[in-house]
Symmetry: C2
Subunit: 494 residues, 2 copies
């Protein structure tokens, strides 16, 4: 399926483990030396004394996200209060060739904000204005610090919501930066389909709107699609300071359900058939028996420990009823049983809150562990084979790794609970994660459906897009950031 040579290469890379990171951290110091006392004073003169910190606690807090990647500290943390701050700090860093890493909510899963070469971490989470809500056009514009949850609270009275839901209460602009998606993407799309425009600060301090200032039409053919160039660029092309995004009407009727299956194959076959029947399902989440077990223990449910689907339907009452009937029939044909319907909001909220806490539930399986999560995505017809083969690999390697997936998109995760101070365990899991990625790519899929490349999958990108694709990305990177100051060490192989 993939060459022995490549596997050996991948294993070699993964076996470097922590020492690799330390090596990068060390090699960083030469550049970091540029963040002198004078440079810090220059930062303070831009944003005010109180908005720059070199305290270790603050740098530590900004040196890691929620992933397994070891903390790597920036030399200074700057709290921007305006786009002018962002622009001036970028210009200063660019003029002095100092690394600059934008920091949103810190909820990333591939080490996207680790300061691999030191430099300045630019925390843009304090810009919290909702600039405008155009309820009649189903769009709004928010500043970089506004989280998904804050936005949805703010617009609650309009009858609208922003459904893209990666689980964490990430900032909307951070979600743009990583091309986030999540449970609702099967119905509402990912960030790529939901961003209309963004204010972006380039490496040299230039402020631009990707679709033009104040523009928010549903479609445009005017020049290059800069919006979707910056969505998913992980802070390596520019700093996203505002985003204009689509909103959706809160559905008239919502219905959630859980159904259990005798085998993974039957659960995933159900998913594939539901999608092939064109049911406009809002959520279709797979949990294998290990995930259900973790879920029961952590969130105090008593579900049948079996491969399961969590479903949600949105629409008019009759449309929801129709979707329910079709899905129920398909599930039953695949031996689905124990349907539990959650019709009221409290039951639904409890179910989905617990689903979103699954990463903590999986971690709780192994005392003293932290999560190591990975994600791949394949065409849905290949999903049963990929999940089944992954399970076999997990069994062979004797690894605990509950599988949870946004399977309607062909996207799934493994949440490995692992002691991060146990290098051998980490190395074994890294190798497993890379095998999964290689398998997904072999099956016409991607090594990451929604977490991004960050620092965790840099060595896989060429395998996925080819040397030509990688070079094209480097052409773009070099054109926008010739001094390589923006989030260095991310996306591209070292």
């Amino acid at each position: 399926m993939f060459s022995q040579k490549f596997i050996r290469h991948a294993l070699l890379l993964s076996s470097r483990g922590k020492s690799g990171i330390r090596c990068r951290f060390r090699s960083t110091q030469a550049i970091a030396e540029k963040v002198t006392d004078g440079f810090v004073e220059d930062l303070r003169s831009i944003v005010g004394k109180a908005n720059v910190s070199t305290a270790e606690a603050v740098r530590d807090q900004h040196g890691h996200d929620e992933s397994y990647h070891e903390t790597t500290l920036p030399d200074a943390v700057v709290f921007a209060q305006s786009v002018e701050h962002v622009s001036k700090v970028a210009k200063l860093c660019n003029d002095n060739v100092v690394p600059l890493i934008p920091f949103g909510s810190g909820t990333g899963l591939e080490g996207g904000i680790n300061a691999l070469k030191g430099g300045v971490c630019l925390d843009i989470s304090q810009m919290k204005n909702v600039i405008e809500v155009n309820a009649e056009d189903f769009d709004c514009t928010v500043e970089s610090g506004v989280t998904r949850g804050e936005l949805n609270s703010y617009i609650r009275d309009t009858g609208l919501n922003f459904p893209v839901d990666p689980g964490a209460d990430a900032s909307v602009c951070g979600m743009c930066a990583t091309s986030a998606s999540g449970t609702n993407a099967v119905r509402y799309g990912t960030m790529r389909e939901n961003v209309l425009n963004m204010e972006v600060v380039l490496a040299d301090g230039t402020v631009l709107w990707t679709a033009g200032k104040n523009k928010r039409s549903r479609k445009t053919s005017a020049g290059y699609n800069l919006t979707n160039l910056f969505v998913g660029s992980e802070g390596t092309l520019g700093i996203i300071t505002k985003a204009t995004i689509r909103l959706y009407g809160i559905p008239e009727a919502t219905l959630s359900a859980v159904v259990h299956f005798p085998s993974i194959q039957e659960a995933v076959d159900t998913t594939v058939q539901v999608m092939q029947c064109g049911v406009p399902i809002a959520r279709i989440e797979f949990l294998d028996e290990a995930a259900i077990d973790a879920f029961n223990k952590y969130s105090k449910f008593d579900m049948k420990v079996a491969p399961s689907l969590f479903l949600e339907f949105h629409g008019s009452p009759s449309s929801v009823e129709e979707q329910k009937e079709v899905v129920e029939e398909i599930a039953k044909m695949n031996n689905g049983s124990n349907f539990k319907w959650a019709t009221n909001a409290d039951e639904r909220n409890r179910l989905w809150k617990a689903r979103h806490e699954i990463v903590y539930a999986c971690t709780a399986l192994v005392p003293g562990s932290k999560p190591y999560s990975t994600d791949v995505c394949v065409p849905i017809s290949n999903l049963p084979a990929v999940i089944v083969q992954t399970k076999e690999m997990l069994k062979k390697e004797n690894l605990v790794g509950p599988i949870v997936g946004h399977v309607g998109d062909g996207n799934f995760h493994i949440f490995f609970p692992v002691d991060h101070d146990h290098p051998e365990a980490l190395t074994k899991i890294k190798a497993m994660s890379e095998k999964m990625s290689l398998l997904a790519m072999e099956m016409h899929g991607t090594c990451t459906g929604e977490h991004g490349i960050g620092m965790g999958k840099r060595e896989l990108l060429e395998k996925e897009v080819g040397i030509e694709g990688l070079r094209a990305m480097q052409i773009v990177k070099n054109a926008f950031d010739p001094n390589q100051i923006l989030n260095p060490g991310k996306i591209f192989p070292v």
Copy 2:
């Protein structure tokens, strides 16, 4: 609403009319001289003697699209039979700094294939293979010559179709290049949402797959979104030789209808309210009374000559019924009358065929005329004001210009019938078209929702995306095409 200075500038530009084009044509000859007999021999050695033509008739056929822009001839036309041909021709042109213009079906509407600087027109329409259809994954991959109609014939037995429908039977890859959309985009999205991957040949002959070879997952976060960088790049960044696109199930039930209104405001208000109610309508097309008049005369209908909406609903029988009820109620609240329902396929096909022929119907209004079509797109809440103001401007200028729009997206067109040999009439229409674009941009919209910038709206792009946005686009252009050989003179202001 917009500055007098800008209007004067726009009018000045538009008043240059044909002489401007001639001037560009003349300035071209210096470069065109590079297409020597020896160079043509080199082309023949790549693609075979029969696949290169310097005959004036062939060059003429490849020197214009379906728009009002005056024909500008390439020096040679090459008919590529494979991606290897495309790659080698690109490399040859790049090495010799000869302009290279990709040519698909020639159905563009903004002069996208005019050879403004002479050079080689690379006709990629003869590569006609459907590479694969993955019915179970709702995707397929086609070569550059496969048109939308040919694809839909090919996949008819699968129960799937490709719904993006710009009217013309354009090539799918050409639709990628211009970011096409059309009547169905309100339900199924534009090309931006429907392309999963593309094979692209860069200026230097490099062949790349934007999402990696053989990759076709529904979503990915692996590196930069090269796919959406090339979608809409109008042949200026690379040549699209294959596309992997999404397919959709042919709906179980389809219902079309026409309804008439006392005023434009009421027709457009209906559209806005239908969208705001979240009806998943498949088509909602506006025709003003002038368009209905042209439509009746050309296609032998006897509809009430009034502002009208053409509607189509897709879904299950009960979902279609539900949509019909909601829309009927909204239309009636806005004094819509004379509902005519087309339930059988023959009636529907006749209606939509005639709708797609509206450009010819409008042209038939003025004997000896050819069409001049333009398009803008605004947030839907601004649509009533923009259409009403546009009608007032038309009246003031005493211009015949039926308005037809994909109004569910906020997108509409004017089809001006004009004698292209009458420079004053053309100048007047250009000025009107630019006023419309300025108005749309002022109302948070775009100067082109789906036709692209081409050569017709180059001078408006900076107004839309700002000098910073324009420079960012130029950064991308220069990075991918440092010798400026790919489709020179398009998108960017001269």
